[in-house]
Symmetry: C2
Subunit: 699 residues, 2 copies
């Protein structure tokens, strides 16, 4: 969708323009005029003839000239009527400022608005938003009365209130914007649509967003990739609220218990290459570094400091951020020895000593910049009696201008460093109050350079899935009204999708149990089959290591015990399953459906203590093979799969294959609400995996 009618209109009609000062419909007209918009402005108000020296129109069709954008500020109930006239006038862009839609429960009204826009090919921002600002053409089409400087950051916010705070704060920091959008209820245009537009917007180099809720993960992932993996990479930095409010689902499955609402977002951001800022302050630090630096080639940082203590502190932060301290070359060291005093520290962090003037900083930075082992440089300065603040700042600025490596600074102090910090910022050197912030921001920059290397389109090659069979199975279950599929019912579905299962059959009688066990021909496990019993082990519904001869008596024993403990449970039999003798690692695969984003996928360390160690990662269907590998790489238990403490290397490839099968199953059946495969036993390399237990719930 082309959004030029919204961001670059040549003429704007304000429908609901008010003559009353302080009202939103008045603020918008005032902001457009006073902040320098040079296009035509048409206030629409049937009760007034003039507003701020502009002619007022009684209705939109009374405007004879062409109108590109309509800003609607009328009460929500008449918005559909107004929109019909907007459509007639062939206006292509609309911003609805008015509230009173979905956010207060008026879902039908919002759908009506959406339909009119869709039918008439109108691009719609809002409703219930603050408006938009395009500093490039000095257009403030919002009721926030701040015009930010022209810059290269596009900001998308789901909170109007936060917009004003951000604009105010950014102004203080002299941070400029290319576009500023308050998206409101996102009836039509969502973040994904804006990503598509911004990918081709020459003025935008960085996209920042404040998010409360997103929908349609696949669309977001696809649109985000266009920004992050295009020819001109544009990072997306997001701050997401509600990290804790939802909490974990109240759920009987392990996956459900572990999957808070936020884990789906963690998965989404990781998969789509969106960088997450945990806090507002972090967001600004990231914006500072991204707007002024090229991407580093690697993660090796050199520190230049005039004080030992802060040098060590900075080293800590560099390493804790996930970056590496550069090991400078012998050649660099020799060069440094020629220009720095004998007591200086010639190993990273480079200490130019407390009496260093600008010349030492300059010499050290220039030498380090040429070292191939150095990917970026962090300059730390503390105020000492000999310190040359402004000259050091200038030395950094000139080094930065010549270099393609990120060079950032942290001048620690207050009044003494104030002026030089302003000089640095004005000349495009990212500057941070403390080295810890610089290190974090450098890490985000480096992280984005790595994201760019993602082989995100490495597709899965999944064979032997039988959608038709599973479909039939689900349809039959639907007929019975079945939505919960305990182990015995879940295994056939997994079989249809090619998951490696153990030999198992359900026995209804002791004799059947013995027969099946003999057919299996080795020790078996007996597991109770009942939709009413959730935790089989806790209920005494699992007996391990039963010899085929004992299977009958053990069957009778188990049934008797369970009937005693759970007299009301409906028992459908006992699952007789082959017993695995091979040693392996118990992992868990799972899925929970997120109301907004879709089907999440979880992988992690399984078994009984899965909820205690919480060593799990999340992704969203559909996964690529690359995504699956990345999810596993993030696990602590990856080391176990890789063969910790001299133990066998496990079949991680087979685990990845299962993630692909699970992803395919969820694409084919998005109505799967919860799914647990726990444990999934991963055997030594070449021996594959085995599903030991499973459970599925559909909507």
């Amino acid at each position: 969708m082309n959004l030029d009618s919204i961001f670059y209109p040549k003429s704007i009609a304000i429908i609901g323009a008010s003559t009353e000062v302080g009202h939103v419909g008045n603020d918008i007209v005032k902001n457009l005029i006073s902040q320098g918009y040079e296009g035509k402005i048409f206030p629409v108000n049937p009760k007034a003839s003039e507003l701020y020296n502009l002619k007022c129109y009684p209705y939109v069709l009374a405007i004879k000239e062409k109108v590109d954008l309509a800003i609607i500020v009328v009460p929500s109930s008449i918005v559909p009527t107004v929109l019909e006239t907007v459509a007639k006038k062939k206006i292509r862009g609309v911003i609805i400022i008015s509230a009173g839609f979905k956010e207060v429960g008026n879902i039908d009204l919002e759908n009506q608005v959406k339909k009119i826009c869709q039918k008439n090919n109108i691009a719609l921002v809002g409703p219930n938003c603050l408006g938009i600002i395009n500093p490039e053409i000095k257009m403030n089409a919002s009721f926030a009365n701040i015009m930010p400087p022209n810059g290269n950051i596009a900001f998308i916010s789901q909170s109007g209130a936060l917009c004003t705070a951000i604009l105010d704060y950014a102004q203080k920091l002299d941070i400029g914007f290319s576009k500023f959008v308050s998206v409101g209820n996102k009836a039509l245009l969502s973040e994904a649509d804006l990503f598509e537009y911004l990918a081709n917007d020459k003025k935008t180099k960085v996209v920042a967003m404040y998010v409360e809720e997103l929908t349609n993960a696949p669309a977001i992932i696809a649109a985000a990739k266009k920004l992050t993996h295009g020819k001109n990479p544009k990072p997306i930095i997001a701050i997401k609220s509600g990290r804790t409010s939802d909490g974990a689902h109240a759920s009987a499955s392990h996956t459900g218990a572990l999957a808070g609402n936020d884990s789906a977002y963690q998965g989404l951001f990781s998969q789509s290459g969106i960088i997450r800022a945990e806090m507002i302050s972090e967001l600004f630090e990231y914006l500072r570094i991204f707007t002024h630096n090229k991407l580093p080639k690697g993660d090796r940082v050199a520190i230049v400091t005039n004080a030992g203590g802060p040098g060590v502190l900075t080293t800590d932060e560099v390493i804790l951020s996930g970056l590496k301290m550069a090991k400078i070359s012998k050649e660099t060291e020799n060069k440094l020895r020629k220009v720095l005093p004998a007591y200086a520290n010639f190993h990273n962090p480079i200490d130019v000593l407390g009496d260093a003037k600008a010349d030492r900083y300059k010499a050290a930075i220039d030498i380090l910049e040429k070292d191939k082992n150095v990917d970026s440089i962090l300059v730390v300065l503390t105020p000492q009696s000999m310190t040359e603040f402004d000259l050091t700042a200038k030395a950094i600025i000139s080094a930065k201008k010549k270099s393609s490596k990120p060079i950032v600074a942290s001048f620690i102090g207050g009044k003494l460093v104030e002026k030089s910090v302003k000089t640095l910022r004005a000349s495009g050197v990212s500057t941070f109050s403390f080295p810890e912030e610089a290190a974090k921001a450098l890490d985000a920059l480096t992280h984005f350079a790595n994201i760019r290397k993602d082989k995100y389109n490495t597709k899965f090659n999944i064979k032997n899935t039988n959608k038709q069979a599973a479909d039939k199975y689900f349809i039959e279950a639907k007929k019975r009204g079945q939505t919960i599929f305990p182990e015995a019912d879940a295994l056939p579905i997994l079989r249809d999708y090619g998951f490696p299962l153990l030999h198992s059959e359900v026995a209804k009688t002791a004799a059947e149990a013995k027969n099946i066990a003999h057919k299996i021909g080795k020790s078996v496990v007996l597991k109770i089959v009942s939709q009413n019993i959730l935790h089989k082990t806790d209920a005494g519904g699992v007996i391990l290591n039963v010899s085929p001869d004992d299977a009958g008596t053990k069957f009778t024993e188990m049934i008797k015990n369970i009937k005693q403990k759970f007299p009301l449970a409906k028992i459908d039999g006992v699952l007789v399953m082959e017993m695995v003798k091979e040693k392996g690692v118990e992992m868990i695969l799972g899925s929970v459906k997120d109301s907004g984003l879709g089907n999440t996928i979880m992988v992690g360390l399984g078994g009984t203590y899965v909820e205690i160690f919480k060593d799990v990662t999340f992704g969203l269907a559909p996964l690529t093979a690359y995504d699956a590998q990345k999810m596993i790489n993030k696990l602590k238990s990856k080391k176990i799969l890789d063969g910790a403490r001299g133990q066998a290397v496990m079949d991680t490839q087979a685990l990845i294959d299962c993630l692909g099968r699970l992803s395919q199953l969820l694409i084919d059946f998005p109505n799967i609400k919860e799914l647990d495969i726990n444990p999934l036993l991963v055997l030594p390399k070449g021996q594959g995996v085995k599903v030991l237990d499973a459970r599925i719930v559909i909507e």
Copy 2:
């Protein structure tokens, strides 16, 4: 030690006072005079007759009047000679600014200085320091030319360079100090001595420190408790550098591999009630909140906001910090409904809506302040068109003055909120740029209130330890030159300290093995005994579940295999050990000696994957029973001990008892360098624990 001669001298001699502007010996005299010190100043310089209108003395004994404090700025080599004259002059306080001691390898020179001071009962700060500042009496006895405002924070810094940066930054934030000390090499006075002094210093309410290395953990813990648990609680906030530089010890023991240098400090801070700030910015945030607020009664926070988005963000931060969102009472809700508009949010976070003026904020804060379910209040403000910045600030100030609960604020924005933020700060309301910082600081404040409740003096009541026997055993080992004690050699020591062991004996022959196994009378474990084999299991030196009859043949088999694999290993026999059949939880107990702090103690989840999950906590000997319980409480695996997923509750009390025994062993034998008890099998409640394997290394 009374340090009044240092902090409140009536007269100061500057030995090495220089007439050369820009030199340290000149700066100090200039700072003393120009920044308002009202006592007597005696510059000592044999080559000058006058300095800044003060008479110069050729040597210190030439001063006829009494001198309380000497500041020494002469070259390090003549410092001892100078100190002897200082002693003769009966000067009780000395600050040695001069460098050139331990920090450049001159350890003997530093020891000499230390001895002269000790012998003559001189309190010594330094050498190699910046000096000290006491704003109360306008004494700047340092070469940093900033005089901070008078305040209630005592700052102790191990880095001189950081001092100037901190002073400069604090000045910008209008943060005042009661004492400012650059401790340098700490030849005599250390942080512990300063804690003792500051505990009785009426001007000091908060102690902040920057630390690179500490020594003597017991002294620090004892002194810290005097500050934190005295009648007037004074929090200690520390920032510690070198969190990553040391890395984990290169070590063969699990404890060694897990115990980086920093873990000892984690243990120290936790045990002594010192609050750790991870970063400089955090330190300042903590200082802001501690200087202006009383301690909250609990951890329940109420948020008042004029915007939904920031309200949710703040809620996230409150919960992620470890605090709780207050559940406001029905009564409070009813009161709020009377004063706020119908669309407001009456549940925490309380949203007074975007058009709120100061009156709504005032009403909401006053009502919440009276709710018994609210322990502290966080006020969030974003700039909206109706917002009354200054009046809202005033409402908060007046509420804060009347209340004993912490009330803090975050006005998010830039220029629009600048003035009101200054007003808040000037009136003692802690104010933060973003709610996330406010939440973290509130958590630190609440954490300190909890520390105050620590029953830190709950002593262990350890019986049945036999120091004499262990002593004899170690002495004999020393005679043999033995420093490594593998399992078979370590178990007797643990037996002497009352650790519950399994029945075990070392067999030298197959026949002996069989005999011992029959004596044990049930299945046994065979384990190779060799100082050369570190990981017994990996080496094939462990056979589980051997019946007494098979013990002989399995013995022969193991010896043969090991000899093949490790032809050079000296094999001392095979340990035949009772096999435990009971199900329990495998934990690990351990210790590593830290060069500075002393003997650390570790507890955590044991077994093979201990280094993968790293679910361990650290403390320092001596532990109290309370410390031991606290260490266990921090473990994720605590949930397993408590009986996760319907499993048995384990004997945590027996585990705590073992921590006490370990602590006692380390107090009695501080030369124990490394110790691993892994696994320590914790059995169900009432059944105690069993040592399954152990290893000790002495210095």
